[in-house]
């Protein structure tokens, strides 16, 4: 059982990476920024190793349970922000993105590590293994979680937008204001994230229906998770429609992203814990 140890080490490296990323937002580009990227890559490698080891130990998809899925969310967040880094001349926006993404990843990983310590959540169960053996399961889970991760980053960009907007409106030209990326940059970043996340969510919903068909014989049963994911899908569809077709952006499109992320949270976490249904992630 190497994976718990590996997750713990990855967690520590992530904590270091968060500190470095936050530090690099306010400092000039240079050593701190590079160190943050190195820590980010190091953390990602460790996390990948831990997830793979966990999968081998359990003989199944390593992020099939609700709690385990957090590790894949953390992994996706890291991959996204690392691939978004400009190769040359990293600016403040990539630092801000890195700081936000690595912080979210750290929180996800931290929750996983602390919950996985309790044995009943960690127990391997035959039903789960069988469920995850379905051919649609992997695609459904991976694409849904990737969508959640990118929506989380879109929400981060929207938060940055709202904060920058507020500071500019209030004419409070502080350190924070200057280190925040420009409104255009944040708006563009959020858009990119949704442009990636939305197809992922679509894929997740479709493969989920296919999974349901093969496992239970019905595509769609309106269970709470299915319903709320449909609502989430509609909110992001509305955002993209307003943005792409009507050309609207600015304050309101960013408000929409906040609503969308609220839906994501309800779908991902809320439904699982508070509304019973077949998505309650046995195990």
């Amino acid at each position: 059982m190497y994976s718990p140890m590996l997750f713990l080490i990855a967690l520590v490296v992530y904590a270091v990476s968060v500190v470095l990323h936050v530090g690099s937002v306010t400092s000039k580009p240079g050593r701190i920024k590079r160190a943050a990227t190195v820590a980010g890559i190091g953390g990602l490698c460790l996390l990948t190793l831990a997830i793979v080891a966990h999968g081998i130990e359990q003989h199944r998809l390593p992020f099939g349970t609700m709690v385990e899925s957090l590790t894949f969310v953390a992994w996706t967040l890291t991959v996204i922000y690392l691939t978004m880094q400009p190769r040359r001349r990293p600016g403040s926006e990539s630092s801000a993105l890195g700081a936000f993404a690595s912080m979210l990843a750290l929180i996800a990983l931290g929750i996983y590590v602390s919950l996985s310590l309790s044995p009943e959540l960690n127990s391997s169960n035959a039903l789960l293994s069988q469920m995850l053996g379905n051919r649609w399961a992997a695609i459904h889970i991976v694409s849904s979680l990737a969508a959640y991760a990118s929506f989380a980053l879109a929400f981060g960009a929207a938060l940055g937008y709202m904060l920058q907007e507020k500071l500019l409106k209030a004419k409070r030209i502080t350190m924070l204001q200057r280190h925040l990326p420009s409104l255009d940059t944040l708006d563009g970043l959020a858009y990119k994230m949704v442009a990636f996340g939305f197809p992922m969510l679509t894929l997740g919903v479709i493969t989920g229906a296919l999974w349901a068909q093969t496992a239970w014989g019905k595509y769609w049963e309106w269970d709470p998770k299915e319903t709320s994911s449909l609502i989430t899908w509609l909110v992001y569809a509305a955002y993209l429609h307003v943005r792409m077709v009507q050309g609207w952006r600015g304050k309101w499109s960013n408000r929409l992203l906040a609503i969308g992320f609220l839906c994501v949270l309800i779908t991902y976490i809320g439904v699982t814990f508070f509304l019973p249904g077949r998505h309650s992630h046995a195990g």
Binding site: K28, Q164, L168, K169, K171, I173, T174, M175, Q177, R178, L180, P181, S182, L183, D184, T185, G188, Q246, G247, W248, R249, G250, K251, W252, S253
Partner: protein, 449 residues
């Protein structure tokens, strides 16, 4: 500031032509290397004079003469030879500008050695400027050095010193926030625009009114990359005139409200007594813009844009007071950086002073080597006269042996000389000179001293 503006104007030397002044200065005899740094606020002459004499050790260090500035008299009385060199510099300035030296001499101040190096480094890093941390001065130091170097007025000492000063200036700007933030209204406008738009390139700026301040702000924005410029003014001819300067297009004043929709940045500076851009106008324009933000810069007094405009979504309205507040806040933050810059300056001055001290060793070592080489050569001559039958090979062997003897003898003293020089132990250096009967730097010695 010790010199009134009229005097600073007269002392100001155009950067394009330092050669005649520098030549004049160096012909006076004592000054070997010189650089003139002349900006609107300061005229400074940096000069290096080499005088080898026991009582004037700091004459080995460069001295500078600075007009304008705080009357920062050196704490210790200047060595005689420096005062002589000062005299030369002042006379050269007087001759060059056709002034009576009495008319400006009281406004000058002079720094020598350590203080002069420190001053140059502080100037280069922007902490000696009226506007703390402004970036221009480093460029001025660079071009002053380049001009002097082109005129052949610099040598090993000022080359090193100015290159170091430029490096210090860069260090201060990269390692501290001394050069950060807004220095002027135009600068603040660009900084804010960058917080909204990215990139600035390709944006449209609309200038309403032909006020000086508006034009200045637009100039900043256009050099920051804003590409398309529209100008609207009550007198159409002035709009055309202004538009031409920016390579933009002029609008009739009635067309202005319609143009709001396609403008990202709007600068207003009319002389109108009441607001000309109303909430109604902007509200309509914003419908066209579909949430794309717009930045109003109202530099007119009284204001041109209704304050209510700022309450609209995606509209950012800054008037002249808001911009001034940004500048003041940034200036405060730069103030907090002074100590860090001063620490860098101190560190670099210390390094440079160490380098200067090792300079003392150079003439002594050269003189010592020359002396021994002379002895060796004359002995070889004598040998050749006494033993004319020596073969080429044998002579070569003797030559080799004597050379290595000289080298071996010189080795230890040379190490010591360098150490003494670095420790600033000039009396010990003198003892060595005395013992070997050498007088380095004789050729350059100021015989008047």
């Amino acid at each position: 500031m010790t010199a009134p503006v009229e005097l600073r104007e007269r002392l100001c030397m155009p950067e394009s032509d330092p050669k005649s002044f520098l030549d004049r200065l160096r012909h006076s005899g004592r000054v070997q290397e010189a650089v003139v740094l002349s900006t609107c606020n300061r005229t400074e002459v940096y000069a290096w004079t080499a005088v080898w004499s026991a009582e004037a050790e700091s004459a080995e260090l460069p001295l500078s003469d600075e007009e304008q500035s705080k009357a920062e008299a050196p704490q210790t009385p200047l060595p005689h030879s420096i005062r002589k060199a000062d005299h030369d510099i002042i006379q050269a300035i007087a001759d060059h500008r056709d002034l009576l030296r009495e008319s400006f001499e009281p406004h000058l101040y002079s720094l020598a050695g350590h203080k002069a190096v420190e001053h140059l480094f502080r100037v280069a890093s922007g902490v000696d400027s009226m506007i703390l941390g402004e970036a221009q001065v480093l460029g001025q130091v660079k071009s002053a050095y380049a001009a002097a170097s082109e005129a052949g007025a610099t040598g090993p000492v000022l080359n090193t010193l100015f290159q170091r000063a430029i490096a210090v200036g860069k260090r201060a700007r990269t390692e501290t926030d001394i050069g950060r933030g807004a220095f002027s209204v135009g600068y603040a406008a660009v900084q804010l625009a960058r917080s909204i738009f990215d990139p600035l390139k390709g944006r449209t700026v609309l200038i309403v009114g032909a006020g000086k301040m508006g034009e200045l702000t637009a100039t900043h924005l256009s050099s920051a990359g804003v590409t398309s410029v529209l100008v609207a003014n009550r007198t159409y001819e002035r709009a055309v005139d202004l538009a031409q300067r920016f390579g933009g297009s002029a609008l009739r004043f009635e067309e202005m409200p319609a143009a709001l929709g396609r403008s990202d940045i709007i600068i207003t500076s009319t002389g109108a007594g009441k607001p000309i851009i109303t909430r109604e106008m902007v509200s309509q324009a914003m419908h066209v813009r579909r949430g794309r933000p717009v930045f109003f810069i109202d530099v007119a007094v009284p204001r041109d844009v209704e304050p209510e405009v700022g309450a609209l979504d995606d509209v950012f309205l800054y008037n002249i007071d808001d911009l001034e507040a940004v500048i003041a806040a940034d200036a405060e933050e730069r103030d907090a950086e002074i100590a860090k810059v001063e620490a860098i300056v101190r560190e670099e001055v210390e390094k440079s002073m160490e380098w200067f001290r090792t300079l003392d060793a150079v003439p002594v070592i050269t003189a010592l080597r020359e002396k021994f080489e002379e002895i060796r050569q004359s002995e070889l001559e004598k040998l050749r006269a006494r033993l004319p039958n020596l073969s080429e090979e044998e002579l070569d062997a003797v030559n080799q042996t004597t050379r290595s003897i000289v080298n071996k003898i010189c080795h230890q003293p040379m190490i010591r000389i360098k150490e003494y020089a670095a420790d600033d132990a000039s009396t010990r250096l003198d003892t060595i000179c005395d013992a070997f009967g050498i007088c380095p730097g004789e050729k350059e010695a100021d015989r008047d001293v």
